[in-house]
């Protein structure tokens, strides 16, 4: 999922830049270029000793896939039990050394356009900032930063 088709019926339509997902009480925007696939929540096997953010390991496409809990990553208050939880398979880290990662989220919502100029008040790292989208303030995430070693 690298691009989103733009309508060609004469109407001007802004191309989608982010996938909007629900994580607890928060909506988070993931850059589309980093999203590989959205699948029904994968079976995750715990890793003893892992921090709360790391749910564990899953298998995806024959490869081991670490799965992080997106709600915990963004410190989202818990929401209602999700009906159709998903795992968003994404690329993290710099382009020359990207890694595949799963993000456990409550649901995938829609593809949206988030203008770069509308993002404010980020921490400069994983949380790029917040932006208004469709009447709601969403957390805009920087997945490249998530993959950097600390």
């Amino acid at each position: 999922m690298d691009t989103v088709p733009v309508e060609e019926n004469g109407k001007s339509r802004r191309e989608g830049t982010h996938l909007l997902v629900r994580a607890g009480e928060y909506a988070c925007a993931l850059p589309l270029a980093s999203v590989r696939r959205v699948v029904r929540a994968l079976t995750v096997h715990p890793l003893p000793g892992a921090t709360a953010e790391l749910e564990g390991l899953a298998e995806f496409g024959g490869e081991p896939l670490p799965v992080l809990n997106l709600g915990r990553l963004v410190h989202a208050p818990a929401g209602p039990n999700p009906t159709y939880p998903v795992t968003v398979v994404v690329w993290v880290g710099p382009a020359e050394a990207r890694e595949m990662l799963g993000l456990a989220a409550d649901s995938a919502l829609e593809v949206v356009h988030v203008p770069a100029g509308s993002v404010v008040a980020g921490d400069g790292g994983f949380l790029l900032g917040e932006a208004p989208v469709g009447g709601e303030v969403v957390r805009v995430l920087n997945l490249e930063a998530l993959g950097r070693a600390t």
Binding site: L47, P48, G49, A50, L54, P66, L68, T150
Partner: protein
């Protein structure tokens, strides 16, 4: 059971996860009550000792091992040789020289087969 110099990986379950240890690093495997003790010898580097397993799944001849990504090390600060997949399930491949805390038996280096005062009746029965 001893499988020194054998090819492949011993697969075991511990803490709900699947783990793999290179056969060449294993000096012995004994049942201890409800679980198992795996002796890692000098061939495993400087981490000789005794590891624990809830279940032994068997031996696989080969595993494709992926290195641990930085993001995994960030949220799981444990040593490991890498990750693999077997039978559709992820496997943590153990670095025999630095086994993760989750596999430590707490028996110490001489705890492989000797009787110990803290070993309960259940443990003794399991060894018969």
């Amino acid at each position: 059971m001893s499988v020194p110099h054998a090819r492949g990986y011993l697969l075991l379950r511990r803490g709900g996860g699947l783990w793999g240890i290179a056969n060449a690093a294993i000096d012995g495997l004994v049942r201890r009550g409800a679980d198992y003790r795996i002796t890692i010898g000098d061939s495993g580097g400087n981490g000789s000792g005794v590891l624990a397993a809830d279940e032994i799944l068997g031996v696989v001849e080969d595993l494709r091992v992926w290195p641990l990504a930085p993001v995994v090390r960030r949220f799981w600060p444990q040593p490991a040789a890498g990750l693999a997949v077997h039978g559709g399930e992820p496997v943590v491949v153990v670095d025999p020289g630095r086994p993760p805390a989750a596999l430590q038996s707490g028996d110490g280096e001489d705890g492989g087969e000797g009787d110990r005062p803290d070993e309960g009746l259940e443990g003794r029965q399991g060894r018969e």
